[in-house]
Amino acid sequence: MSMNEVNSDVAEENLITVTGLTKQYPEFALRDISFQLPAGYIMGMIGPNGAGKTTTIKALLDMVRPDSGQLTLLGGTTPAARVACRDDLGVQLDGSIYPDTWRVKQVAAALAPFFPQWDAALFADLCQDMAIPQKTKYKDMSRGTQVKLQLAAALAHHPRLLVLDEPTAGLDPLARDELLTRLQDFIADGQHSVLLSTHLTADLERIADYVLYIRDGRQQFFGHVDDLLGAYVLVKGGPADLTPALQAAVIGLRRYGEGFTGLLPAAAGDDLPATVVTEPITLEELMIYFGRGAHDAQRN
């Protein structure tokens, strides 16, 4: 076992630091996003569609110009500096990014000259591992295969940081599991990090160290996954259990004839009557209840 122990008390190098990122669009605004990703960890970005996950990633990659806020990517604080460290950055974006007619070979030939550390053998291995067909044109690949090809290209130049936008969306459960293992291998030496956005939160819950939860362009939470999950409990009870005080405290309340369910801050869950059931939550439930809460607030 040659892997080094990393003590969490030791000051870590941040591969990404974002402070106060704000970007205004006509119908959407990303407001005051702040987080940092130290070397050696996996960070997940969750939130409903249109929450601002992709915009945040695009800002990191200088594809959009933020209205305000500081971005540091692999030590680069200016757009030029961030571009200079692209060799250390592997990216997979949501949607297609290669011409229709390219095959695996063309992707390698086109990208290799740009990355001094491009590893043709590794790329070939990755393609074989992920069962990417060699002769199929990019446009004829399934969405999952397109994502895999992007992943292979992202990994092939030995980056220090992976930024992935919805990498698991088109993958079947087996491929998803393989990808997660791959990501854990990637960060295993404590020097590499992964930032990924997803709305398939089940994957994230186990392997992510940090989570950034965005909704409507606003940051809801940033921190350890365990802390986020520990901060809320799921409450369930009969119709009689729903006191006005409880009703005011519950987030995303759902009432039905025989009872109710909702989310409650963990601290408020201690002094509930014994008839109310409390359960630990999952990220998915968290997102559902928060989403419903926002909906209800809008309607009233």
Partner: protein
């Protein structure tokens, strides 16, 4: 060493890891001075996050089960017998308590409990021969 984590146990994953390592140490499966797998290795193997694993190791260190040597890893600390005995007694007390609760629910007299315990000890002794 055997560690199995369950998503459905209703117990936080770091707690599960902590408990299982503790059990292994107390049962003598992990001898003093054994190097535990590194945090990252274990996280990878169990497909769980690094920070969860770190937290489990951290707790174990605080409770005096392991020690972290900078740059090397975590080693199992030798447990003095009084401490081991104390842990064991606490566990036994807890389990017997549960047995008594169950007996009270089913209205089983204490005498019958004593008989059951004797039978179990005899059976365990039988299996012990193999080891």
């Amino acid at each position: 060493m055997r560690i199995v984590v369950s998503n459905k146990a209703g117990q936080p994953i770091y707690q599960q890891i902590e408990d299982q390592i503790k059990t292994a140490i107390l049962s003598g499966d992990l001898a003093a001075g054994t190097l535990l797998p590194s945090i990252r290795q274990l996280a990878r193997d169990l497909q769980i996050s690094v920070i969860t694993t770190t937290r489990a190791y951290h707790d174990l260190e605080e409770q005096g089960f392991v020690t972290n040597v900078q740059g090397k890893g975590s080693y199992v600390l030798g447990q003095d017998s009084a401490l081991v005995r104390e842990h064991a007694l606490r566990d036994i007390e807890q389990y017997l308590g549960q047995a008594l609760d169950a007996a009270a629910l089913a209205k089983i007299p204490p005498a019958e409990l004593h008989t059951m315990l004797d039978t179990l000890i005899a059976a365990e002794g039988g299996t012990d021969v193999h080891e």
